[in-house]
Symmetry: C2
Amino acid sequence: MTTQELAEKLVKMCREGKFKEATESLYSEEIVSMEAGAPPGQSRESKGLEAVKAKGEWWAANHEVHAATVEGPLVAGSHFACTFKLDVTFKPENRRFTLEEVAVYKVVDGKVVYEEFFYNMGA
Amino acid sequence: MTTQELAEKLVKMCREGKFKEATESLYSEEIVSMEAGAPPGQSRESKGLEAVKAKGEWWAANHEVHAATVEGPLVAGSHFACTFKLDVTFKPENRRFTLEEVAVYKVVDGKVVYEEFFYNMGA
């Protein structure tokens, strides 16, 4: 699978809300996932498929998604970028907000081995 | 200037080969520029407008650009991404190669304050 094919598949699955399926089918066991920031004492970085799946499960359990837009991908060599615009409610605080972020992915041997998200903290 | 406006202006200037003018007109004095890697003992990070301009001048002096494609931008909040595909010759070694990279930018108060480039080392 080329970077372009994987990028189009990942974007399509995210547009359909299939975040968990995308992680399970397209990510490497050695995935490293980097957030823009982390709470005090916690790491921006999650390492390994189990940790990244756990982060996704926490996110899905704690947010209600009202609307989502995914744009891209833009592909260059082994990397690609897309954007996410999510209208969500953080359920523990019943707080609705818009999350806008750029995501960058690196692909090796047809699997995502690195992802990084760029957004403003506190957004 | 919104992030969208700045992003479109930067991409347009890069398409016209006006990299130096883009840096001088669109970048903050406090710009931080991050490469995917650096030679041993050197930093991936350049801090401040003078350092970033010097990096750009070194690059321009040492590469001949045969063709360049810039795609994007994709904009999300204060960030945007684009891709560069450059057919270049590294003049000191007379070595021609293709550089494909994803670039991510962060905008504050109408200026670029952070840029990061994603590509494979040795490409």
